[in-house]
Amino acid sequence: MAHETGQIESISGPVVKARGLHGVRMYEVVRVGHEQLIGEVIEVGDDICTVQCYEETSGLSPGEPVVATGDALSVELGPGLIGSIYDGIQRPLPELKEMSGDFISRGLTVEGLDKEKKWTFIPSVNKGEMVEPGSVIGEVPETGIITSKIMIPLGIKGEITEIVSKGDYTVVETICKVKDDHGDIHEVMMMQKTAVRKGRPFKERVPMNTPLITGQRVIDTFMPQAKGGTGAIPGGFGTGKTVTLHQFAKWADAQVVVYVGCGERGNEMTEALEEWPSLKDPQSGRPLMERTVLIANTSNMPVAAREASIYVAVTLAEYFRDQGLDVALMADSTSRWAEALREISGRLGQLPSEEGYPAYLGSRLAQFYERGGRVKALGGKDRIGSITLCGAVSPPGGDFSEPVTQATLRIVKVFWALDKDLAARRFFPAINTLTSYSLYHNNLEKWHREHLGTDWPDLVTEAMAILQKDQELREIVQLVGPDALPESERAILEAARMIKEDFLTQSALHEIDTFCPIGKTYRMLRTIIRFTRKMTRAVKLGVNVRRILEFSVLDNIARMKIAPWDSYESTMDKIETKMEREFQALFNELTEAGFITPEI
C-alpha cells in the first residue's frame, strides 16, 4: 500500500516537524528519515504536523522523508505475551539484542508476538453459534499458570461459519470465520491488535470487594489494596518504591502481573529478569515469569517511548482483564512518565503550568488510573476481571507538595507514603503508617471478617490507636524525658515498639519474611494485641512494665516473623499458649498477694 509521504521540516530532540503529510491522523505512527525511525503524530496542523520520535534523532536532517503508516500506535495481543520483556513500544528486547547486539541501535522493526510459534488451540464453540466482540471461542494453555482465552475482536459480530478443530496454529492463522448481518465473512485469528491510547471497552464496572494480598504486613493490615483498585507509592530516592513494587510483582495474589519500568534503572529490569524466573508464584508453585510481562523503558532510552510505555502496559493488562483474570500493573515511575510529557510539551512550546508541567498533566494521569478497575468483560457469559494499578511517584526533593504527587493523590484510593527518616534508619518497609491510607477498608471488611477473623477490624483499629498514641507520647518524651510518663503510658510505648519491631518491619531480602501469608499476618497481629491487652490490665493492677518485659515469650514474639509459611499456625499456637501461661502466672501471683479478687 502506498502511504502518504512528507518531509522533515525541523528537528529538536525527540520532536520532529514534518511537512506535506496530508490526511495523516492524530496518534498515527509514521516512519521518520532514511533510517525509518518510529514516531507518532501528536499534533496535526494545516500543512505541518508534529511527530514525537521513539528513537534517538541525532543525525536526522530536514528534507528527509516521513512516511505515514495509516495505523495508530497499537500492540499485538495474543498467546506469547506472558514471560516476555518488551521495550516501551512492544519490541521484544531479546530480539533487539539479536539484531543489534548489546546496545540498542536505531530503526529496528520487530513485532510484539512471534508469528512462527505454534500454540495449541482448543476450540470451545461450534459452527452456527452466534458470537460478538469479547466472546470466547477457545483456549490456549499458554504457561503452567495461564490459559489464554481467545476472544472475538472488536467490530466482529455474527454467526460462526467455520472453526478449526483442536490443533497447533500460529497466532496469525485463521482459526474461525464469522458471517455478519450483511453476509460478510470475517476471518479471526488468535492475535488481535488494539490501539493503546484508548481503553479497551467492557460491559460494566462491578464493586471491588476482594483485597489484593501483597504479602507485605504493613500494607495488608493498614492500607490494603483492593483487586481493581488504584494506589500510589510516593517517596524520595532510596526510600523503597522499587523494592515494594517488586515485592508486589513477586508475591501479590494476582493472576497476571504487568511490570513497567518507566524511565528507571537498567539494572532493576535485569534484576527482575535474572531473579524472577527462579522464584515460585506462591499460589501455583510455578515459576513467576509464567504470569509476568515486563516492559522496560529505562531512563537512558528515548523519552517519547517512555511516554508510550505506560499505555502499552495498560493495554496489555486490559487484554488479560478481558479474559476474566485479575491483573496487577506496577508502574515505576509515573513521575518519569510525567516528565516525558513535560519534555515533549516544552518542545512543542505549549504554555506550561505548575513547574513546567503541561496543564493536562492531571487529566492524563486520571485517564491512566481510570483504566484500572474491576469489570464485567464484553461477550456472552459473564467474566469478571480486574486491573489493580500501583504507581510509584518520585517527588523532587521528597516533597509531596509537587504537582505529580498532588495530581496523583486526587485520583488514587490508596496512598502508601514512604518516609525518608524511616529509610535512613533502615526501618523497612519505610511506609509511614500515620500518613498513609486506604479508602478500601469498608469494601474489604466483609472479606477480612470471613477469611481472617471477625476481630480483624478491631485488631487493626487498636493497633493504629497505639501507633497514634505512641507518636504523641514520643513528642512528650522528647521534651521531658521518659521518667515523666506513668506506667500505663510506658506500656503503650512498649506495645508500639512491639508493633513496629516485631510486626511492621519486614525485610524484602529475608528468605522467609519477604512474604507473609495473610493468615500469618492476622495471627501475628492478634498475638501482639492480645499481649498488649493483658499488659494493660496487669499495669492497671500495679505491675511494673519492666516486670512484663522479662517475659520470655517476648523473645518468641520477636522471632515470629521467621515462622515458615506452611507451619506458622503451630508456631503461633505455641506462642499464644506460652503468653497465656506467663500472664496467668503473673495474675495468679497478684491474686495470691490480694491484688485481684478471683473471678467467680
Binding site: 521540516e9 525541523s10 546496545f103 530516592f237 532510596g238 537498567g266 519534555e343 513546567g356
Partner: protein, 466 residues
C-alpha cells in the same frame, strides 16, 4: 547523512550566550558537529541543537567570545561527535573534549566511537554481584560497593571528598582476584590543585599509567563540560567492553556539569524546571550514569563514582536529588561528622548502596554480613536518637539500656567509621570490629541477628559479652 561537499556558511545572524544561530542552512543534521572559525582565526567546535526551516541553533563548547555575525565562518561536518579510542589512551592526559594536553602523539584510533553512546539493552545486562573491598569500614561494612555499580559521593565545599575518593581508588580491590583494571578520570570545572592532588595520588601507587585523564578545569570553557563525561565514558566503554578491563570512572564535579547544561538551557529560553535547571536534567544525567554496568559475555565492567558538591549542603537540591534517583545509592560526606574530626566523615544514615544485598554474604564477603549490618544500623540510629534526648533531659534520666546505646554510638563513630587515611581494612577486620562493638549489648538485644550467628561470633571471639 554524509554530504559530498560541506559548504561554509557565513550567515551567522545571532550570537546569544553560548549559542550561535545560523541562517539559510540547508539539510543540517540534528546533533552534528560544527567547526567554527572565529574572526581571529581561532578554530572552535559546536553541535547542532535545533535544525529546520533554514536555521540551525549551535552550542559552542569553547564559548562564543570573539564571535560575530560578519566574519565568523561555520562548517557543518555531517558527523556526530566521535572519540578516537584505543588502549593507548591509558597514561594520557587529555582536555575536556579528548584532545591531548600532554606532549604525547595524537591519539591512535582502533575505532571512532560516538560519544553519546547507545543505551545498553537491559536484556544484555548482567546484574552486578562482585563486592569491591575499599578498605573503608563505613563503606565495606555498611554500604558495600559492587563492581559495575554507579555510586556517587555527595559532598560539600571544604569537605574531604577528594581524599576519600583517592583512598578508594588506592585501595579498591576484589580480594583474591587480579584483573586488568583502568581508571578513567573526568574533571569538570575543578581547580588545578584538586586535579594535581588526584594525579599525585594515582602516581604514588603507580596507577597513573592505567589512567586516562580528561581535564576540563575551572578556567576552561564551561560549555565543554557537556562533552567531558561523555568522552570519558566512551573511552571507558571501549576499555571495558572491547578490551576486557575493569574500569573505575571518576566524574568530578557533576554540579559543574549540570550548571553548564543550565546555561545552555537558559540561553535557549527553555521553560526552566526546579531552580532554573532544565526539565530534562533527569534524563540527561541518566544518559551519563546509566553507562555503568556489566554485560553478559563481556569480561570488563564499568563502575562509576561521580562526585558532586551539594550547594549549601542541601541534599534536596536538584543535582544531588536527581542523581540519587538514578544512581544505585549514594555516599554522604557529612559536615557535622567532619567537624567532629571523624575520617572518613561518611554518614551511614542517608548513605546507601542498593546493590550490596546481592554482593555480600557467604562466598562473597562473609555469611554474617547482612545480619551484622542490620544490627549495627539499628544500634547506631537508636544511639543517635538518644543523643538528641540527652541534649534535652540529661543522661541521668536514661535507663541502663539507653546508656548502652549512647556509648555504642560514640564508639561506633570512633572505632568503626573512623580510620586512618592509609589504613586498609579487610572485610574480615571490618566485620569483626562490628561484633566487638556489639559486645556492649546482651544477646537478647541483638534482634537482627540469628541466635546461631551470635553463637558463631562468640566462638570466634569477636562477640564478647561482658
Amino acid at each position: 547523512m554524509v554530504r559530498e561537499s560541506s559548504i561554509v556558511y557565513r550567515t551567522v545572524t545571532d550570537v546569544r550566550g553560548p549559542l550561535l544561530i545560523v541562517d539559510n542552512t540547508h539539510n543540517v543534521a540534528y546533533n552534528e558537529v560544527v567547526k567554527i572559525r572565529a574572526p581571529n582565526n581561532e578554530l572552535l567546535t559546536g553541535t547542532v541543537l535545533e535544525t529546520g526551516s533554514g536555521r540551525a541553533v549551535i552550542q559552542v563548547f569553547e564559548g562564543t567570545s570573539g564571535l560575530d555575525t560578519d566574519l565568523t565562518a561555520v562548517r557543518f561536518t555531517g558527523e556526530t561527535m566521535k572519540l578516537p579510542v584505543s588502549t593507548e589512551i591509558l597514561g594520557r592526559i587529555l582536555d575536556g573534549s579528548g584532545n591531548p594536553l600532554d606532549k604525547g602523539p595524537p591519539l591512535t584510533a582502533e575505532d571512532h566511537l560516538d560519544i553519546y553512546g547507545s543505551p545498553i539493552n537491559p536484556y544484555a545486562r548482567q546484574y552486578p554481584r562482585q563486592p569491591i573491598q575499599t578498605g573503608l569500614s563505613v563503606i565495606d561494612g555498611l554500604n558495600t560497593l559492587v563492581r559495575g555499580q554507579k555510586l556517587p559521593i555527595f559532598s560539600g565545599s571544604g569537605l574531604p571528598h577528594n581524599r576519600v575518593a583517592a583512598q578508594i581508588v588506592r585501595q579498591a580491590k576484589i580480594p583474591g582476584e587480579e584483573g586488568d583494571f583502568a581508571i578513567v578520570f573526568a574533571a569538570m570545572g575543578i581547580t588545578a590543585t584538586e586535579a594535581q592532588y588526584f594525579m599525585e595520588s594515582f602516581g604514588e601507587t603507580g596507577a597513573l599509567e592505567h589512567t586516562a585523564l580528561f581535564l576540563n578545569l575551572a578556567n576552561d570553557p564551561a560549555i565543554e563540560r557537556i562533552i567531558t563525561p561523555r568522552a570519558a565514558l566512551t573511552a571507558a566503554e571501549y576499555l571495558a567492553y572491547e578490551s576486557d578491563m575493569h574500569v573505575l570512572v571518576i566524574l568530578t564535579d557533576m554540579t559543574n556539569y549540570a550548571e553548564a547544561l543550565r546555561e545552555i538551557s537558559a540561553a535557549r529560553s527553555e521553560v526552566p524546571g526546579r531552580r532554573g535547571y532544565p526539565g530534562y536534567l533527569y534524563t540527561d544525567l541518566s544518559l551519563i550514569y546509566e553507562r555503568a554496568g556489566r554485560i553478559h559475555g563481556r569480561k570488563g565492567t564499568i563502575t562509576q563514582m561521580p562526585i558532586l558538591s551539594m550547594p549549601q549542603d542541601d541534599m534536596t537540591h536538584p543535582i544531588p536529588d536527581l542523581s540519587g534517583y538514578i544512581t544505585e545509592g549514594q555516599m554522604i560526606v557529612s559536615r557535622p561528622m567532619h567537624r567532629k574530626g571523624i575520617y572518613p566523615p561518611i554518614d551511614p544514615g542517608p548513605s546507601l548502596s542498593r546493590l550490596m544485598k546481592e554482593g555480600i554474604g557467604e562466598g562473597m564477603t562473609r555469611f554474617d554480613h547482612k545480619e551484622i549490618q542490620a544490627q549495627l544500623y539499628y544500634g547506631y540510629s537508636e544511639g543517635r536518637d538518644l543523643r538528641d534526648l540527652v541534649a534535652v533531659v540529661g543522661s541521668e534520666a536514661l535507663t541502663n539500656r539507653d546508656q548502652k546505646y549512647l556509648r555504642f554510638a560514640d564508639r561506633f563513630e570512633n572505632e568503626f567509621i573512623n580510620q586512618g587515611e592509609f589504613e586498609d581494612r579487610s572485610f574480615e577486620t571490618t566485620l569483626d570490629i562490628g561484633w566487638n562493638l556489639l559486645s556492649e549489648f546482651p544477646e537478647r538485644e541483638l534482634k537482627r541477628c540469628d541466635p546461631s550467628t551470635i553463637q558463631w561470633a562468640k566462638e570466634r571471639g569477636a562477640y564478647k559479652i561482658l
